[in-house]
Assembly symmetry: C2
């Protein structure tokens, strides 16, 4: 076990003070002299033909500077150069011109001196529609007789002759022979699962402020997970050269995968180009629900063959992903029926289905919570049916180093079993089982738990896992040492959930400086080289490597300067307390500050080092979660009274931050299983407000206990594996499992509302 | 002669568009929400004791947020920690508390909601003074019977028993034996010269906006030549850690050496700390005159021994530098009597003398215009007296490669003679002499010049040189290549007179990209490692090396990526038109953009390279200038009708920019000789406005012809030598020389006003 000075410490977030004092500048807080505001005109219909758009009244409203529609862009095209035409092809997609395919789709943006005038102007834009039938359910949409959700939606005929309507895409995969596998099984289970679309529900809605210099240079302040994605997105959508765009990432109030996209940025840039003044656009919460890009819903069929001892012989799945009006649902996640298990025969098919809703975006482990719910809930059902312990069932089938989930895989440095065992241990799973055995089965009411609800409540425990493998992406870090001996670190990644704190810890460790002496400096796309976005659990793995490499070079340079000054070799020097000492004689030393000052006078020049990273393989990990619920058998209302989770993070750079990720992911997964859903009907998105869209609050939640497993990865800095995403995946299945354990209900249709529990109990009774 | 793609091209300045459209943000243009304004309370007296300061009326004025005086700072000290006390010792020097030693000295700063209220508040601060006698002339100040200009001014007794009062410092140097040298001379000349203090007269007065975050982080927007000097200055004066300060250099409207200092910054930071709100301070033009840090005045005695053939045998000088109320006059410049000549015996002494004026700062080639005037004017007089051509006299004594000005010097790569000959050639000096000889002496009225003034005007020609050697300082450059194949270059130097354009040319040349594909990105002290300031003719030499080194590494990385892609060695590749080709087959190639995109996917990571520089020796250069004047013999009024100049710049990265430096320096030197002077009297600075402080305008000036000499330096990038400073030095002496040639007057007291010419003509007649 290596010893560290800064790695592994529970250090407070470097952005904490700014955030708690209100000093942090979110995108909506940035204001420029002379700035205008924009407001969107949106379709009130989920599907309609646009017959007429009349902007005259809006344009003559005092204070309105311009109204931009798809038609007004086409006029630009006619006037523009060839270069711009290329970009404008994409621009034309920015506004609906002939047909709207979801409620909230943008028809126009009205730009005015202030927000109220822009809103008033938007209301004065007259749009005449011919309403068309709209589709909200995938299983309805795929029917051959259904109307088209959008004019270009395709109908396909499968090999078996069945016809699927409104298809946006399809995928499939697998290995082995599932039919043979099912034939070897003692029991075969077939189930359908339904997972609704949910919103990522970052606290801070989308916001952007755009300015265009007289030279044509575009400067954008925005809340984004990737300043470089926004830069290339603006470049591609508006035909502006990359080098003419600078994107400044402001403090971000959450993103969870949704803040990579272009749903707001090109409009502000267009409006700034048109008016010659800075333009600000800020989504309301209602606009987030209507025009955000949520997680796709899923209807999934899963078939599993299993021997009586719990050995899985084959799994098969078909996933119907609700992709809304544009492709992009993570349908490949259907393959997650493999889990982290040794299943010799796998077959999966996935269909991405158009409906009259906005298109999807990533949401923390995209597709995993949906597919894992189906996969893990069925394993729970199998265990219960076969009378096996659900933890034991999983351990029996689980891979370990040397195994593979597919024939072409050989896993190393994985800790699946350790992670699952750890959560069971922490939760007291085994003690509970022994007590249950002693009490001869059934829901165990004898545990010495404080029941803070009705004494009639039924308790139950559930377990599930979610797997994920962190990605990797390009990034660069630049570190310099100032004359006072402190380090400045820059890179092109946005701080989301503690990035800057982790990077400061890595830099401090590798340079050999105290944490307090490392400062992370926020940059923009102009001052930083390319970096991948803050998402996909890539940050600490990828940028951590870049920072570590730069920091190690700084460390080496300090030793060289000290060796020159102390007239010895670098091997004869040690560093501590901001000073480099001759090992043989503590009286001979030079401070880090003095090294930095000397660098300015020698031919080497200022201490300035870089580290870059592009890609290295990672290892899959699991998050494992155990929930305890207490269910009121009269009403179906239930409480989650215990939540324990574990995660293999390879190396916890900052255990407090890792726990934050674990707790946050657990709550989001639990919320998806328990309360969250975007409801759609004839009038479009029915619960487009936080009054009607239910989320658990702190009062709904138990204290969460987290166990960090550290099985070091090969390529992550100090052994890091990505931690951001896995914890969201197990929640829905663990909740399902706990409710089944408590009151015997098997609810396959998320969210598992009290009403559904009550109905299921009544149906089962 | 190497061939270049971009070096040597007359490319327009990269900041041109922003400047001509008004988009460039100068410090006074930066505004923050909630910002306050400060106004100073200043002493109306040049020397006085402060008996009472009463801020009560100011503090109760509606809109005034605080009034800071020296006394109020002392209160802070009592409350502050030990750390702060250390800084506060310096803070106490920020305001006069007991004694004022120049008119305009700061007594307090009043901070209010707007500028007018701050001004009103400043007028309400009551200060009671006991006026003390003030000193304005160095030759008066050094008299033993004079009062002290400041309480701690010293009186010293020299070796010869003479007593000098009000001394701030002294220096001396030389080589050989001057008395022996004078003994070998046929003629010995002794003269006194008087050079006034002048203001650097940047168009943009000092301005700063300071903000303090809740975390204590100080952010400063300011017009400065060195963001790092301002950072360390604020740190030192206010006891704030370097890492808690970020200095952002805004577009600068001139500095000429004056904008390295702290005359405005700590006050804004203090006020922002006190009020918790951003505070802006902008000097008026009057404040610039009263409280700027101008170039020191000089009274200088020069003695030169010379043989009848023009060979200089010895020179001796004593310089009395008017340093105002603080040390800092460049008294070592007295040594410039050496010029670039082989003078076997040299002796110089210099005294820095306190007077009741603000202290001095650098002004373009600090001390050189003053001392060169004395040195070169006397050489002109010698030539005239001996009947020698002043160009020939200089050439006779001038060093060339292998020579030295001092016994310990061996010059290399100098082009003194070439430079002087070139200006003479361009001006038609030799033809004029031949015509003069043909016309048998006297002022030549026969030349075919267009006389646009009275036909009675007398024409005259003058020549002089000024020497300088560029400095070197630390700097770092960072270059990355974006996915579109364009380069971003960052460094911590402010663009003054074309820095960014020159750096873009060097980067483009060394990478192999078109100039248009290189973008210089402005940074701050947080995002850039240490760089020396934009002054001392160091920039292109020092930062040019850093940029070139980084660019060469980028070039190499591009070739490596291309070699990998094209499956050949780097030697088999050539680069042109944004593309790397296999030399043997033009059909096989990869664009720079594709290289950048590939870098993101390979283990190398983004293309990101750095170059650093600290110090390398440079070579001295001269600027040579020839003026023609036409003098109205009735009034002494005169016009400069011709101005020709030459300069050895080693390598002209951008000849247009080099010419800009040459022309600007020439005009500033000429102005110093012709019109400029800060006049002081019993009421302090008498001409503290641009109405009373005369400057030549474009209407006063002739077209300027410039000859660039390129004798490549050893260590400058592409052979660059520093060009910023030398052109200011020759002007006053060349003007003196031309007037002497035209009407026989020898005016040793700058500026040479028409009145002085008229008086001298009358005295000589």
């Amino acid at each position: 076990m290596p010893t560290f000075q800064t790695i592994g410490k529970r250090l407070p977030r470097v952005d904490a003070l700014d955030k708690v004092t209100g000093a942090a500048q979110y995108a909506a807080d940035v204001n420029l002299p002379g700035q205008l505001w924009g407001a969107f005109v949106r379709s009130p219909h989920s599907h309609a033909r646009i017959k007429r758009i009349d902007t005259a009244n809006a344009e003559t409203l005092s204070g309105v500077k311009c109204v931009i529609t798809g038609a007004s862009l086409s006029k630009d095209v006619a006037l523009s150069t060839d270069d711009t035409v290329h970009g404008m092809k994409v621009v034309q997609g920015l506004f609906a011109t002939d047909e709207v395919v979801y409620q909230g789709e943008k028809i126009a943006v009205v730009v005015a001196e202030d927000w109220n005038t822009a809103r008033d102007g938007a209301e004065l834009v007259e749009v005449e529609y011919e309403v068309l039938p709209a589709l909200f359910e995938v299983m309805e949409a795929i029917k051959p007789e259904s109307p088209k959700a959008r004019a270009d939606a395709k109908t396909i005929t499968l090999a078996d002759g069945s016809v699927l309507n409104n298809l946006a895409g399809e995928a499939k995969g697998g290995h082995g022979e599932v039919e043979a596998g099912f034939a070897q099984a003692d029991r075969v289970f077939e189930d359908w699962y339904t997972i609704p679309r949910v919103h990522q529900l970052y606290l801070e809605p989308h916001a952007v402020l755009a300015k265009v210099d007289p030279s044509g240079k575009v400067i954008v302040w925005t809340s984004t997970q990737s300043i470089f994605a926004i830069r290339s997105g603006i470049a591609a959508s508006l035909g502006i050269p990359l080098s003419k765009i600078n994107v400044i990432g402001t403090t971000i109030g959450g993103g969870f995968g949704a803040k990579f996209g272009m749903i707001i940025h090109p409009y502000a840039v267009l409006a700034a180009q048109r008016t010659g003044r800075p333009v600000k656009l800020v989504f309301s919460r209602e606009e987030e629900f209507l025009d955000g890009r949520p997680a796709p819903g899923l209807v999934m069929w899963v078939k599993t063959g299993v021997k009586n001892d719990g050995t899985i012989t084959a799994r098969q799945a078909i996933g119907y992903w609700d992709t809304g009006c544009t492709p992009g649902a993570s349908m490949w996640a259907t393959s997650r029926i493999m889990g982290v298990y040794k299943i010799p025969n796998i077959k999966w098919e996935a269909f991405s289905v158009y409906t009259n809703k906005p298109g999807p975006a990533a949401y923390r482990a995209p597709g995993a919570p949906q597919a894992s719910f189906a996969s893990e809930a069925q394993l729970d059902k199998i265990a219960r049916t076969l009378g096996l312990d659900p933890v034991e069932l999983r351990l029996k089938n689980m891979c370990e180093d040397g195994d593979g989930r597919r024939p072409d895989e050989k896993l190393e440095r994985v800790a699946f079993k350790e992670t699952l065992k750890a959560v069971a241990e922490r939760a007291g799973w085994w003690e509970r089982n022994r007590k249950q055995e002693a009490a001869a089965g059934g829901s165990d009411q004898s545990r010495p738990l404080t029941t803070h609800h009705s004494p009639l409540t039924k308790r139950g425990w559930g377990v599930a896992i979610g797997e994920w493998q962190n990605g990797a992406g390009p990034g660069s870090a630049i570190i310099s040492i100032s004359e006072d001996g402190t380090a400045h670190v820059t890179y092109g990644m946005v701080d989301i959930t503690g990035v800057d704190t982790a990077m400061a810890q890595i830099a401090a460790e590798a340079i050999g400086l105290p944490f307090a002496d490392v400062q992370i400096i926020r940059t923009d796309t102009d001052t930083s080289p390319y970096a991948t976005g803050s998402g996909g659990s890539v940050v600490t793995f990828s940028m951590g490597n870049a920072v570590k490499r730069a920091a190690e070079k700084v460390h080496a340079r300090l030793f060289e300067i000290a060796a020159h000054h102390l007239e010895c070799s670098v091997g004869e020097i040690e560093m501590r307390d901001r000073r480099l000492f001759k090992i043989s004689n503590d009286d001979e030393s030079i401070t880090v500050a003095e090294c930095a000052q000397q660098s300015l006078r020698t031919t080497g020049g200022p201490i300035l080092e870089t580290g870059t990273f592009a890609n290295e393989p990672s290892h899959p990990v699991i998050a494992a979660q155990i929930f305890e619920v207490e269910v009121d058998p009269e009403t179906g209302r239930y409480w989650v009274t215990k939540a324990v989770n574990s995660l293999d993070c390879g190396r916890a750079i900052n255990p407090m931050a890792v726990e934050g990720q674990m707790e946050g992911g657990l709550v989001q997964g639990l919320a998806w299983g328990w309360m969250e859903q975007m409801e759609y009907g004839d009038r479009g998105n029915l619960n487009a407000s936080l009054l009607d869209y239910r989320l658990p609050t702190t009062l709904d939640l138990p204290l969460i206990s987290s166990v960090i497993i550290e099985r070091e990865s090969r390529n992550g800095p100090y052994g890091v594996k990505g931690v951001g995403e896995p914890p969201i995946a197990p929640g829905p299945a663990a909740l399902y499992s706990a409710l089944a354990d408590a009151v015997g209900v098997e609810i396959h249709d998320l969210p598992i509302t009290p009403e559904k529990v009550w109905r299921a109990m009544r149906a089962g009774a």
